[in-house]
Amino acid sequence: MSAHPPQRQAARSGSSMRRLRGLIRKEALQILRDPSSISIAFVLPAILLLLFGYGVSLDAKHIPLAVVVENPSSVTASFSASLLNSDYFAPRLMVGRGAADQAMTAGDVDAIIVLRSDFARRVFSPTGSAIQVIVNGTDANTASIVSGYIQGAWQKWLGQYALDHGRTLSPPVSVEQRVWFNAEVRSRNFLVPGLIAIIMTLIGTLLTAMVVAREWERGTWEALMVTPVRVAEILLGKIIPYFVLGMGGMVLSTAMAVFLFGVPLRGSLMVLLTISALYMLTALGMGLLISSVARSQFVAGQVAIIVAFLPAFILSGFIFDISSMPTIVQWLTHLIPARYFVSALQTLFLAGDVWPIVLADGAALILMAAIFLALTRARTRKSLE
């Protein structure tokens, strides 16, 4: 029954190709004529990456400090000078604890260093009352970074001071630290790849969700449905132009990451593009699914922010480390496509083609893309409700 003569099948697939070409052409024209779509694919990634690449950093520099010296002497002057000469601190000498406390409450300084009146005498006593450090703990992460820096400055000064006074400080065990993949510990190196994932999420999910929701709202989607075009063709006609647009944005973002922000790209470009293509498909599938469920731009926009952007920001490992989250939340992150993309990007940029990670992330993305596209296909039947 279903067996068609071969030539008819060829004719069918030929007309299918023609229909698909027509749809892609229509979609491409729509993108080209609406400046907002073009800007979202190229201008948006460029601006966002510039803004965030420079703006998002966990590396504190010129930390404002209040330094309170209770009893000035040549020893305290030597320590204050070592703080002044450091790139990490912007110390301000203050006359008393009162002024320092006020500056900290007002948020003008991040930490207070108090050099006690007997500082010079007790530098080499183990009771540790010579110097006191108070950090503003409101931003807990910055607080621990700041106290780490101060600790480092203190150790360095002590070593130098001891040397100048003919003593050597040799702890029983000393530590040699090796930070792999990011020896300078630049937070930008891991944040910029994560930002690319966020930007791709915006392009893929938000843009398609809005575009298709608009068609549902205006009734042009139903109009397409009554034509001989098949559902799969309609969906492909939507996916292909936006896929091309998204990949263009991806190439632009990668170029900016490498050439502008100096993030090393240690993996191969081919693998990077393949993983990105898989993520783009997932993001597009998600956008299509959202629009086919929401069918209004208001709901589609809300849902896209809530299920795509915010999780990509918080649950993807972009800034907050997934392994530190509670177990239940860790399980939840497996449902967030951006998680796999961020992980793959961080590894591909910084570590190289680590196959166990790349393959696992790639497989997860293929699975999610397939699920999203299949669900969209199932929801977009050629019937009216």
């Binding site: 703006g55 409450t105 183990p126 110097i131 950090v135 607080a143 600790q151 029983p172 510990v185 918080i314």
Partner: protein, 369 residues
């Protein structure tokens, strides 16, 4: 006049409320996100997957490593026997830290020489790497202090005593959860407002509204009240959850926090309405909202401090209402920020609100075509 405005407000509420999907979308996800993000957004590190590579057979090395094994922060996942295994652990993220004790460790310690320990850490997440190194160094320092005490060596020089104000245990949840008040109210309010005018313009009912006796500022009130109510309600739920669910201390005055929340929402609503009246279509409106929301969140100090940004971008954040509200909400919760300091962050939000609301009202009639 107020009857008219009231009728408009009711109509705006109904526009959001009547549609089941938009009703659900305004209420449910923010609550889920509050709980999930409250737990997920943490900079603390625990259960660090750690591999041990011990080339030394002496007792001292085992005593030393026992401190890592006994620490709740480190989970020992493997014991290595070859140098090449370090890469095999770190590359595929099977371990974040490798503690490498060399062959001469015990001998050096016994002879009074400094023994070396190598810590290899995965730098792909450089922030986590720094935190892990901090923990590991603390363990080494503890071992050193005890070793010196047990062996009667010359005491080390003064060590640093670090205390932390407002958040003694440096719990990042105390920092993040108040931030979520600012984050989620921003997202909900901006989406609700940014589409109101654009949707009506697309359908054509906005032109009808303009030919009624309504004056622009009456329309402005009608359009502002529903998102304000939604924002205040959502903000209240999150504040309550922060106090009773997450146990974040609320040290400042709640009344002032609400005053700040009111002006913050007003500023956000102003921006949303302005974007909405500028947009030709709903799509442009939501894109505009996005172009505002995403930088507003990322450049607000929510996750990464503003002080780390370059000067140009710091200047740019001056027009971001979230920046000011974040300082107020965190300060009110943790520091009990004095009213004078709250006021200093209040007036920029008032300015943003005044400018954007005026702009929106003007754009109602004068949108450029």
């Amino acid at each position: 006049m107020w009857d008219r405005v009231l009728a408009l407000i009711v109509k705006e509420f109904l526009a959001i409320w009547k549609d089941k999907k938009s009703r659900v979308v305004v209420i449910v996800p923010p609550l889920i996100q509050l709980v999930v993000f409250g737990y997920a957004a943490t900079f603390e590190v625990s259960h660090v997957a750690t591999a041990i590579y011990n080339e030394d057979s002496g007792l001292a090395s085992r005593q030393f490593l026992a401190r890592f094994e006994g620490s709740p922060t480190f989970d020992i996942v493997a014991r290595l026997t070859r140098q090449s295994q370090i890469a095999e652990m770190i590359d595929p993220k099977r371990a974040s830290l490798v503690v490498h004790v060399g062959q001469t460790f015990s001998r050096d310690l016994a002879a009074g020489r400094t023994a070396k320990v190598q810590l290899v850490v995965d730098g792909r997440q450089s922030n986590t790497a720094l935190i892990i190194l901090g923990y590991a160094n603390r363990i080494v320092a503890g071992f050193n202090a005890d070793w010196i005490g047990d062996h009667g060596l010359a005491p080390p020089p003064a060590s640093l005593v670090v205390r932390s104000w407002f958040n003694p245990n440096l719990k990042s949840q105390w920092f993040i959860v108040p931030g979520i008040v600012a984050l989620l109210t921003l997202v909900v309010t901006i989406v609700v407002t940014s589409l109101t005018v654009a949707r009506e313009r697309e359908v054509g009912t906005f032109e009808q509204l303009l030919v009624t006796p309504f004056r622009p500022f009456e329309i402005l009130i009608g359009k502002s009240v529903p998102p304000m109510v939604i924002g205040l309600a959502e903000g209240s739920v999150i504040i309550a959850a922060a106090v009773w669910w997450f146990g974040v201390p609320l040290r400042g005055t709640l009344g002032l926090l609400y005053v700040a929340l009111f002006f913050y929402l007003l500023a956000v609503i102003g921006v949303g309405l302005m974007l909405s009246s500028l947009a030709r279509t709903q799509q442009q409106a939501i894109l505009g909202a996005f172009l505002f929301v995403v930088p507003a969140i990322i450049l607000s100090g929510f996750a990464t401090p503003i002080s780390n940004m370059p000067a140009v971008i710091q200047d740019l954040t001056l027009v971001n209402p979230m920046r000011y509200f974040l300082i107020i909400v965190r300060g009110t919760f943790l520091e009990g920020l004095p009213p004078a300091l709250i006021l200093a962050r209040l007036w920029p939000m008032m300015m943003i609100a005044a400018v954007s609301l005026t702009g929106a009202a003007w754009l109602f009639r004068h949108r450029l075509d």
